[in-house]
Structure formats: C-alpha cells, structure tokens
Symmetry: none
Subunit: 258 residues, 2 copies
Amino acid sequence: MSSRPPVIILNEPQLAENIGAVARVMANFGLSELRLVRPRDGWPQDRAWASASGANWPLDGAKVFETLGEAIADLSLVMATTARPRETQLPVLTPRQAADDLHARVAAGQAVGILFGGERAGLETQDIALCQAIVTIPVDERFRSLNLAQAVALNAYEWRLGVDEGPRQAFSHNALPPADQASMMGLYEQLERELDDAGFFHPPAKRPSMIRNLRVALGKAQMTEQEVRTMRGVVTALSKGRGRVLAKLAAQKAAKEE
Amino acid sequence: MSSRPPVIILNEPQLAENIGAVARVMANFGLSELRLVRPRDGWPQDRAWASASGANWPLDGAKVFETLGEAIADLSLVMATTARPRETQLPVLTPRQAADDLHARVAAGQAVGILFGGERAGLETQDIALCQAIVTIPVDERFRSLNLAQAVALNAYEWRLGVDEGPRQAFSHNALPPADQASMMGLYEQLERELDDAGFFHPPAKRPSMIRNLRVALGKAQMTEQEVRTMRGVVTALSKGRGRVLAKLAAQKAAKEE
C-alpha cells in the first residue's frame, strides 16, 4: 500500500520564481511531488531553480500537463484552494480539516492532491468543479492577499503537523476508495456527449455552467470504480434505448415494405 | 483592558522586500503592529511598500529601534521563533501552542510579541535570552529553509485561528441543505422506470441489488433539491431522446410513404 504525501498541483502558474518558492516550501514540509498545468512561461525555467534555495528535487521531478484534467487523472481526491469560495455544493474546509482528511485518505492508500490557482486570478469555477473539496485559509476579510508560496506553506504545514503528531485516528475509511479523476472524467464526458445529442443544454450559453453543476453534483458522491462503471452503464442504457427503438422501427418498416 | 493582537518584531531584517512581504502577511491575518530592530538598509525603504501589495498600514506605523531590548520593553511576553532551538531552559512551543498561550495572555490584557531573526542568521542566543519562550515550526529536519514572511505567516495563521474559531463556521451554512428523501425517491423511481424500459436490469434476479447499488451511489452525493431537479432533467433528456428519434423516424417514414 502506498502512502504518498499529497501532490501539489499549480494551475497556470505565472512566475518561475514563485514555482521555485513553492518547491522550497514543499521541501520544508516533506512534500516532493509537483505538477504544473500550463506554466505561463514554459518549463523548465532556470529562475525556478534559482529561487528554490536548494530544494531542487521537486523541480527536477515536476511534471507538466496541458490540462488540469490530465494533471489530476490518477488522483482519488483533489482539494482546491481558494480565497473566495464560490457558490458551490462542495464541502469547504480549513487547511486543518483538509489535512485531517488527507491524512486519513493517504493512510487508506489513496493518491491525493492539493490544487492552487495562478498568482493573478486563482482558480476558475470549472477548475474547482473537478475537485472534491475546497480549502480556504481563514484570512481577514478586509485583506485577502496571500502569495502562492504562502498558501502552499500553510497547507503543507498543516499536513506536516499530522505527520509529526502521528496519524490521527478520527477517521475510518473501511469503504472502497473513490475512483480516480480519469474515471470520473470519462463518466462526465460520456454523459455530456449524450446530453448534447439529446439537446439537453439549452440555451447553449448556459452549457458551461450546467456542465459544472452536473459534475459537482456527481463528483460529491465520491463514487468507487465499480459505481462509475455502473453509472456509465446507466447512461449507455438510457441513451442506447434510442438505438434499440431505432432498430426496432427500422425492422418494422422493413417488414412493412416487404 | 486592552486586547491588542501580538506585535511582530523583526530583528536586523536585511531586505526591504521581505519587510514588505511580512506586512502583507500580517494584514492577511489581522495583525498590524510592526517593529524593526536595526534594519540593515535603514528605514523607510520604498521597496518595502512596493512589495506589500497594498498592506501599507503596518509599514506606515512601523517603529524602528536601536536595540531589541528597547523594541520589546513594553511587552509582557515575547516569543522567539527559531528553526534551531539552542540549549536553553525556555519552553519550546509549536506555533499552535504558542498561539494558545498568546491568546490567553491577550485575553488577560497583556501586551505580547513574536520575534523573528534576520534572513541570514536568525536569532542570536543573546536575543533569545530576552524572550520568554521559543517557537519552532515543525519543518523537515533535512530541509529547514523557510523565508522570513513564511515564518511570520505560519505564526500569524495560528494566531488567527484562535481569533476565528468561533465565528468561522459561516461557510457550512452557505451550502444548501440536502434534498429530502422524498425527492431522492422521486429521482430513483424515475431513473429505475427508464432503466426498466431500456432493459438495463439484467438478469432480472439481480434487479434488487442493482437498484440498491445505484441508490447508494447517487445518495452519497447528498444532492440539493436543485441538483435533484437537474438530475431528473438529465434522465428525462436521455430517455426522451428515444421519443425524439421515434418521432423523427415516423416523420421520415410518413414522408417516404407519401
């Protein structure tokens, strides 16, 4: 059974210096796995190493992805950090609560990650919709302006406290682990394809928000791989029904025409 | 009785940018009183304001001292942060324990402070000796290298948690309550009816367990009423597709036969 600490995922980071600062923070708290989604200035960047104060290994091993979906495909649970929790049905956790949950899941052998948005804009709603929980640092309402490495530091620190204090036993994860995000994405995309065919997304301008809402509603269920397969079967059955009706009608027509 | 949050004291800070970054961190966590002991490049420094992201007030009000003794003269308790606790008889606390103690003292009307050393060398033994406790951030032994603003951030965050812990639950109330079981049952029954029509439950002997599994998978999502309505729309769209295909075929047939 693996017990990998959380992966740190930076979505569209802008400054290489900040990526280096994140690596430095990670090293302080025993994290090493770094993933970058569309870093603005490309990758690798010497300036990242220059600002990592010798914490080279998270940078050396950093993986780069074209889409957030690919970056989190193998993870069972991803927490999205944001200063401004949008209206969403996802649970909103403090870094402390998040760390407790992450520890419980890692102890159960699950691969988990924490997602951070870019320096300027943070995370978009559709990025958050791919995650299973939101982490919000309790900053002063009147001045919310932590930099990227500081936000990573606070979450990594809370994770580290759990490592140091020994496992917290408050949670029992006897249940099967949730499916990874690649499986969920497969379900979402199949469902959305069929709903497109069925003319469900109306008016078209609302399609993106309708898709987000659907993904959140289903994502919250933290389905197992088996449950995802079942749900895919459900979607197929409901939509294939059309094919069967089609075939039946065609047969009837053929019979009539003979 | 005063209840001033802790004063942040920087002993011999080197880079003005770091002083600005500390101010920014302080503002995030509701701290405002900053004291500087012998800043290397003098004071004030424009670069501090430039790197504070608008958190000007701790900088505007910053007081400069020639000695640490003067800087902490009016404080009842000062905690010294250091990555390497030296041989000392002072209590060594985590930031969490320190925050608890600071809160207790502030509640009792005491003026308190947290002391941070310069970027390069940290605190000297004689500086620490002026303090009443040591705070050590639990970083990985193999890589101890937090920057100044990050060290301030972790301590300020722990302080803030103590401020916030009461009223912080606002978020959980933002989430809408889950739909009642009658709504969920409506969704289940609609779905199961359509799946019966589509021949999904096969073999028939497995129908009851398949239905249980489906209900568990969806029930875990704790959907809101709105989400239940959306999912019912999804089921209708997927299955109504059949009706549309049927109508289309019928129309084609009619056209052909004319």
